[in-house]
Symmetry: C2
Subunit: 134 residues, 2 copies
DNA sequence: TCAGGTACTCACTTGCAGGTAAGTACGTCT
DNA sequence: AGACGTACTTACCTGCAAGTGAGTACCTGA
């Protein structure tokens, strides 16, 4: 399932960073976890409209292997697992924030829309324009 | 050939930026152009060991459509085309540099190697930007 | 009693990014 | 004469990322 940590070789630093962030939902996951501090599996799934359970787990496992997220399992009767960012995840998110600023500016330039949030989902939460949109 | 500009919709700024940078060689191209100011097609091809002509052109066309690179054609007898970064390309490269710093730090942490440069190619040059498929 | 919520796993399929290799038109170098 | 350099275009093929949908095991509330 390719859940082992990526390890290069790389052309350069950007290459190494992109390798870790490559994946349709990874930067979104990073953003969600950074914003909420800690999230359960189902909370993440609901927070990322359109993600499939398979992809979400796969990405979380890869990011865990890469040392970006921490996975805490609570052995309770309804299973409970909490995901949070490690310090490496937090610093990666900070680096991505710079890129996010550029991207937001680009969206403004070309007049791109935001993907519409499905009705019933968190109403007015993660709006990229704010301070630290990933 | 998908040379039209990407246009969303996006989840957030990072999404928009990643869309533009997604492509195995795009960040490398950005880096090459930023470093040399202006480069001809064949110079770029030689500067990016392993890239195929098809992918190089495809990426250049997409980046042109996205307003990142400028393409200047000289109607001379041996054809001559010069590529350079627009101001948007330059600012994107600056944003990627932050990510590059993080990636370099990560490479140090996990002890990843750099891809070996083919014998005969530029010896000890680029430290800057590169990508893998996003 | 059975739908729904917890957090997953597994098997199958599809789309597309990227690789390979050839063709084009024109000119110079050997 | 023909190899090589310029900057591409075109067609075909492959591998992998991602999507789909079902199954698992347990518990709660209507």
């Amino acid at each position: 399932m390719a859940t082992s940590a990526r390890q290069g070789p790389y052309f350069c630093g950007v290459d190494a960073a992109m390798d870790v962030v490559a994946g349709k939902w990874k930067s979104l996951i990073l953003w969600e976890l950074d914003n909420h501090g800690t999230r359960r599996f189902a909370e993440l799934r609901r927070g990322l409209p359109g993600v499939s359970e398979k992809m979400l787990i796969q990405h979380l496992r890869e990011m865990e292997a890469d040392g970006l997220v921490h996975r805490e399992v609570y052995r309770e009767v309804p299973p409970k697992v909490e995901y949070s960012l490690t310090e490496h995840g937090v610093s990666l998110n900070a680096a991505l924030a710079v890129l996010g600023t550029w991207g937001t500016e680009r969206m403004r330039r070309i007049g791109a829309e935001k993907v519409s949030v499905v009705a019933g989902d968190r109403p007015a939460d993660h709006q990229g324009g704010s301070t630290r949109s990933v």
